[in-house]
Symmetry: D2
Subunit: 425 residues, 4 copies
Amino acid sequence: MAARFAAAVRWRRDLHRHPQPGWLEFYATGLIAAKLTEWGYHLQLGRDIIDEGKHFLLPNAATLQREYERALEAGVKEEFIAPARGGFTGVVGTLKGSRPGPTVGFRFDIDGNEVTESTHGSHRPAAEGFASRYPGYAHMCGHDAHAAMGLLLALYFAANRDRIRGTVKFFFQPNEENLCGAWAMTEKGLLDDLDYLFGGHVGVVDGRSGTIALDVHSFLALSRFEVTYTGRSTHAGLSPQEGKNALLGACAAVTNLHAVARHGRGPTRINVGTLEAGTTWNVIPERAFFRLETRGINDELNTYMVQKAGRVLEGAAVMYDLILDVKPVATAPGGRNSPELVALGTKVARRLPSVREVIPEAAFNASEDFTVMMKRVQERGGKALFVLFGTPTFGGHHSSSFDIDEEVIMTGSEFLAAVQAEITA
Amino acid sequence: MAARFAAAVRWRRDLHRHPQPGWLEFYATGLIAAKLTEWGYHLQLGRDIIDEGKHFLLPNAATLQREYERALEAGVKEEFIAPARGGFTGVVGTLKGSRPGPTVGFRFDIDGNEVTESTHGSHRPAAEGFASRYPGYAHMCGHDAHAAMGLLLALYFAANRDRIRGTVKFFFQPNEENLCGAWAMTEKGLLDDLDYLFGGHVGVVDGRSGTIALDVHSFLALSRFEVTYTGRSTHAGLSPQEGKNALLGACAAVTNLHAVARHGRGPTRINVGTLEAGTTWNVIPERAFFRLETRGINDELNTYMVQKAGRVLEGAAVMYDLILDVKPVATAPGGRNSPELVALGTKVARRLPSVREVIPEAAFNASEDFTVMMKRVQERGGKALFVLFGTPTFGGHHSSSFDIDEEVIMTGSEFLAAVQAEITA
Amino acid sequence: MAARFAAAVRWRRDLHRHPQPGWLEFYATGLIAAKLTEWGYHLQLGRDIIDEGKHFLLPNAATLQREYERALEAGVKEEFIAPARGGFTGVVGTLKGSRPGPTVGFRFDIDGNEVTESTHGSHRPAAEGFASRYPGYAHMCGHDAHAAMGLLLALYFAANRDRIRGTVKFFFQPNEENLCGAWAMTEKGLLDDLDYLFGGHVGVVDGRSGTIALDVHSFLALSRFEVTYTGRSTHAGLSPQEGKNALLGACAAVTNLHAVARHGRGPTRINVGTLEAGTTWNVIPERAFFRLETRGINDELNTYMVQKAGRVLEGAAVMYDLILDVKPVATAPGGRNSPELVALGTKVARRLPSVREVIPEAAFNASEDFTVMMKRVQERGGKALFVLFGTPTFGGHHSSSFDIDEEVIMTGSEFLAAVQAEITA
Amino acid sequence: MAARFAAAVRWRRDLHRHPQPGWLEFYATGLIAAKLTEWGYHLQLGRDIIDEGKHFLLPNAATLQREYERALEAGVKEEFIAPARGGFTGVVGTLKGSRPGPTVGFRFDIDGNEVTESTHGSHRPAAEGFASRYPGYAHMCGHDAHAAMGLLLALYFAANRDRIRGTVKFFFQPNEENLCGAWAMTEKGLLDDLDYLFGGHVGVVDGRSGTIALDVHSFLALSRFEVTYTGRSTHAGLSPQEGKNALLGACAAVTNLHAVARHGRGPTRINVGTLEAGTTWNVIPERAFFRLETRGINDELNTYMVQKAGRVLEGAAVMYDLILDVKPVATAPGGRNSPELVALGTKVARRLPSVREVIPEAAFNASEDFTVMMKRVQERGGKALFVLFGTPTFGGHHSSSFDIDEEVIMTGSEFLAAVQAEITA
């Protein structure tokens, strides 16, 4: 086990050195696919696991190609990433145990962040030589540790296959940061055979490694849209009356979107994060594009915001005689851990020596696209649990000096193995 | 003639003492109806001359009643104003000459202003004792002179009936100030038998009496609307999500109405002159009401503004899920004097000793609901002319010290009589 | 005691018949002042208890006069209400016990609502003949019961004066509904000698009489402002460039006020409840007036909203070159019951037979200007408690059929007497 | 003369083949500088003629370098364009005649447009092989003809130097399209020694070559600004209260800029032509950038718009607590041809056989940065004239198929030579 943990640390550092953001995780895809294949897992890749109709927020072709080539240069075998070409990253691996039993899923997200990593001597990856090799990209949210935890767990099941009851199914999910990846995997029906689903995140709860939170709540429901208004350009000096001003429409929309009445029964959020419009000084803008995000403490409240926002968007189009295009590109519903699994997990955690503390309840207060999968599993009668694995983080998530205590990889892996054993006991 | 002029001055001063604004001109209606009856005119009154479907901007019932009673107290015979009860003011009087000929219409507006008249010794009505007896109301736009000019002209035709060719038809029109009266009269079809129509205004061109302008242009096309948004009130603290905020809708509308792209081919205007919304601090406003006005240098440009405004109004309703009610309450199209009458009038004016100067052309640069009548007459093949009769005005139109040189009453009357004679010669 | 309770019910019904809203509570003032005088209390009235600098939201002079006269006609002695003339209503009464001890304050609000009371047979005040005699006004928030509860308590102390330790001080406060009265009383320094302060409300917690809640929290901090923009009017057709458009400024303010970023750490609210601007169609509005309200779950969050709102108001003034006047007219800070009094009250409540249930904690989720007084007392080292006294309410607060179970008057009075005894024991 | 005209056509076609937009006119600069040097003109170049403080709207370094290299590749001698490196394009050339007399300036603009030229066979440059060699750039506003006209005129003066009285000074001005070039030249004081200044444009008046308009008016005064709001970014979900939303500020500004009251005394325009803000979905935008343009029929009206716009910009900064940066980057005042030169030019034109028609007056109805120079000359007591030289244009200005009748080059050159002779006669 110590040997396996040392390997897991190596995998994590290897992934840390080769971070690639959403839909570009060719290196991670190749590394994981190679390992799972070696360990006897049945693999699914590429368009078999990513729904093309939900393949949103894709980087441009040049970036896709560059990152694909980077992965090859870094030593990944092309056979494992050829199916991912064009951004269809991620790996699903399945292993049948030797004895009958339920199907238990495990989801680990694998994407990096668009952040340049600290080179400061106090930042361990820099000091110990496993910092990101790709400028502008880095694993600053711990998904490298998630992937390593998944691999360690997968290896455990493979090594103990003869004792395993039921089936284990691993989802190494791309593009969690943009809240796109879970949607694209879920739409392929890949979770529909699960009886149980587990996922988690490192470092959200403070404290030393060994801390764990199981009654995690307050996943913010979230929706993201790309909004485009199209009008008609005209010379602003000579014939303003001929124009249909997409920028004025967008400004009316943006202002009034932020003025939507907030819900009385809990937190909601709305943000227009970017806006681009127009071409030059003396031309009335024909096109305006912006990115809109809503959130709510639960599905009902987020749906309220989406509906109110929809009216505002439509109204601004009517005001300025514009064509409106609203494209939903990311989603995360609210969600709630299955109480049975919270109870079972608590029982398991209390008897594991590596778990030093079980935090009674924790508000996540952010969005996670694990909830897309959780909702699907629960709607079909399964149960799901999202766990917070404590670790010190040095810098905040997404900061350039984020890091973890690698022990959390083992803690998480052990806990999940023990839970699977308990379920199938 | 001198005797008649002295009478006309008395009528003007009598009207000046009893000013009543739009739809309240009971005193003027009674005085004029009595005179025309005495002189043998065929009268039309009340609902026969005011279309109920266009009877907009009516004062409240208490005011209507108060002013009706004031007129009776001031000595008007009830038989002449009973048909006007409820705001159906104005008089149409027709006289057939002894010889055949065309039908020539003359329009004089009779309403006062909501202004309190100056009591200063330098203001002649105050100094000579014919200032307004009704606080808050006064003839500060010269419509008292218009009415007197019309009566003097009507008396002239009656006195010379045996020499008159054709028919003369007088329109003593209420409520010009709100641009409602001409619309209501026109809709009754009262102008549809006219071959010619004349109207005018005193004091718009500077200069001494005897100045006259015939090529008058730049009547601003105008439209006025009462706009109401109805939403749903709710407690702003407890359940903001239940509301449909009519004030937010109105504010979005008002701001974006003023942002409508102005037309490249000439002046346009837009104004929201009033807004009222809501009931108290902690309730989301259920209702918002405002007054909207558009203008353009001609019908096309005003129509452009109305259409753009309509979209904005509708869009704000969509934005905040409101019911929109837009009620057009006043209108004045653009217009242009018939060139034949400009030429004929110029010929006549040049030979009248009382006309000292004919101004070649004059921009009106304001709105006049005479254009509603002008347009109707011209559309049916008739000709129309709006004349500016110069007079010093002492204070500006609508100011509390506006006054005229009463000689303009005779100048105008003589000119119009001479034009009628020329047409029917 | 039963006799006293019967009297308290009569007082409550008397007050119920003569409801008068904020600053108009002449009848209640007269009735209470007469009783307290009779019972030996030292009285303070009029400008001695209402700070003129915080005398906000005063009704107009005609209404003040009418309601003053109504109180006289209803039998109140002028000597008791003459000091209140002009809206300086309310009564402060002090009684020194025979033995030394702390000063304990009791606050009861006495104003009625601007609601027309139900005349339906199912509404007890209507059925039993004590419904409001003043159309448009009614006690639909239970302040009549509060006043009766206060009188019953005052009578108890007077009757037992020889056994009372310390001083009791009663604040019969006007104008709680507009959140003005407590501010005006507090500014006079009247609470500065208190060691303890108690207040409460009937009917906020559901359930039968005898229910009581002591750990009351979530008082929403609230601020109300009257906002006026003054610009310059001009003719909207002729010279729009001369104007400074107060309505456009107000609309920019209103929209952007609602777009203020909500706080991430708890509920906040903002509302513009009314807006009035302008005079007529063709004049650019010179003046716009609106009512603005902010709330927050605590003082910090409300202060955040007030500061953000202030910037928006100022910015709109800069935009349209307007003079801005912001008048704070009502306030209620957040607040929290003193834990010592919650504990003490709980102990007392548990041993009183009339208290059937003590609710562990209750969110008030609204604003109460008692918090102004509470904050003052606590800041000076005193302790304060706001209690919820359960009663069925038949219709909701402020509805036309709101009513109470009068037993709550006695329950409340007994509880407060017992608490005072415990404190001074 | 025919030989010279043939040369002028060659120059024009050479320039047409090598179009470069504002601040990138290296080819034209090199060609013109070489010719003027050859002809004995005193040259000024680079930073001697372009004020660094007004060197606005500079293309990026890569584009500057690319176009510089293109010019060298196309055969321009480096000595003539080295001073222009970095975008300091343009040429000023001075020639003293042999006899004393006034200093007469001639301004010709030389920049191309960002348009891709038509390749259709009906487009003469395409058919005859002198179409643009630079994709995305083309001379679609006739500035190639202006430059050729200037060279032809310069050659004429050089060839006739012994008969020339006074001094002639040529301004081959860069970047007219962005209305930057004249400002940058004028600030260097280069026009301060002129007694007369002439400029013109081909093809604005319809009709055949030989048509000329001298009483040109209605130059729209124009101002352009780059506006930046800087606030503070924050996570839109977790801590919206920490942000200062630059996009909301910009939207408030944009909407209210378009709502500025239009002036009653003539046309005004306002346009926000582009807007860019923010980085991603869940971050409150820290920065917003937009391009603002105002116009007015004269300086007074444009100044009115600039002042009103300034208030709105400032107000939005106050609203959202943003830092505002407003950078004026282009300007063109209104202007009016000196009446003496209109008269003199008319006299001259009438006796030239090549001038077939003198149009009495023509409204320019657009902006031209010649007015910057005109104003400077007139303010210092000199006289200035802007002439419209008629030519058919095939496609509209800035369209991909714009072309001219090359005869206009000679017409213009002859006319300007004749005017110079008349002035100095």
